[in-house]
């Protein structure tokens, strides 16, 4: 049982780090600020959720793991709001969206 929990935890930690790596690459690879916001919002949110899930498997179910889940909930609530605020202000500021030729 201990072994299964540890294997799951390692898997989820590595998955979270992988998703955050993909998000970071996306921030550098996409052509304009709106597409970059896609990468920063969705991929990073799933990355931190998986990471926290891995940490919960390590610590076991307790008050501390509830607080860990609270961090994940907070980040997943705030990241779309932050991306919305940024892209809205970029649109009003006049940053042109990149389009295919």
């Amino acid at each position: 049982m201990e072994l299964i929990a540890n294997v799951l935890a390692v898997f989820f930690l590595l998955a979270g780090v992988t998703f955050m790596l993909v998000g970071s690459i996306g921030i550098n690879r996409f052509p304009d600020v709106y597409c970059r916001a896609h990468a920063a919002t969705k991929v990073d949110t799933l990355g931190i959720m998986l990471f926290v899930l891995g940490l919960v498997f390590f610590t076991g179910l307790s008050i501390t793991s509830l607080k860990l889940i609270l961090v994940a909930i907070f980040v997943s609530l705030t990241s779309p709001v932050a991306a919305h605020a940024l892209t809205r202000r970029a649109l009003l500021h006049g940053v042109k969206p990149w389009t295919k030729k």
């Binding site: 993909v22 009003l92 389009t99």
Partner: protein, 210 residues
């Protein structure tokens, strides 16, 4: 700003009037218990005092309307339907992360960004906010602006744009407030812009109309 209940007011009226505040206090008390993690008298007493202070501070701004003139109190969300909506949203987050990761790692990066504007028939601002955040978390779409009933959404490929304007998610959000709503009637007046300059002009046209 705060309205004291009259002494002759009956009990049910009190609960009906302050349902929002009581819910907020309960949620904050649960949050305090999770944060504190000590279940004896003194921390819980401090927690009760803190929750009372925070609820009192925030009850002062409950009656201030939003910038579009809407008052937030008195809207009932259907909590049971919210509980069924959240797992679907989590599944959508997983889907969207895999989708954007696929787009990122694809060597040619097959994106075709566009700006979709549509009119939604959601009844109030809170529903619009839930829809806007859900759009931001579902595959390939990002809410850029909400102005009145009009949503401005950045979609990254053609496929997600079709999913968006089919109105599936709008009807799911609409069911949180309305009794029945079909996907067809929720999402109307769709216009798609594939060039950046036109989108900004459309926004400015809206501004001048006001």
């Amino acid at each position: 700003m705060t309205q004291n209940p009259g002494t002759e007011q009956v009990q049910t009226g009190f609960f009906k009037k302050y349902r929002g505040l009581l819910l907020q206090a309960l949620v904050l008390m649960a949050l305090w218990l999770i944060l504190s993690g000590r279940f004896y008298f003194e921390p819980i007493f401090y927690g009760a005092v803190s929750v009372a202070l925070v609820v009192w501070l925030n009850s002062k701004i409950r009656h201030i309307p939003l910038s579009n003139g809407e008052i937030l109190t008195g809207q009932r969300i259907k909590i049971l339907r919210l509980l069924t909506y959240i797992p679907w949203l989590l599944w959508q987050i997983v889907m969207s992360a895999f989708f954007v990761a696929y787009l990122t790692l694809h060597p040619k990066m097959p994106i075709n960004p566009m700006i979709v504007r549509f009119k939604s028939k959601l009844p109030n601002s809170l529903a619009k906010v839930i829809l806007g955040n859900s759009i931001s978390l579902t595959p390939g779409t990002l809410t850029m602006d909400i102005r009145g009933d009009y949503f401005t959404v950045h979609a990254i490929v053609d496929k997600v744009e079709q999913d968006l304007v089919s109105g599936d998610m709008e009807s799911r959000v609409g069911q949180l407030y309305l009794d029945s709503c079909t996907p067809e009637e929720m999402c109307t007046d769709i216009s798609i812009t594939k060039r950046g300059l036109e989108a900004k002009k459309a926004l400015q046209r809206d501004e001048e109309k006001k």
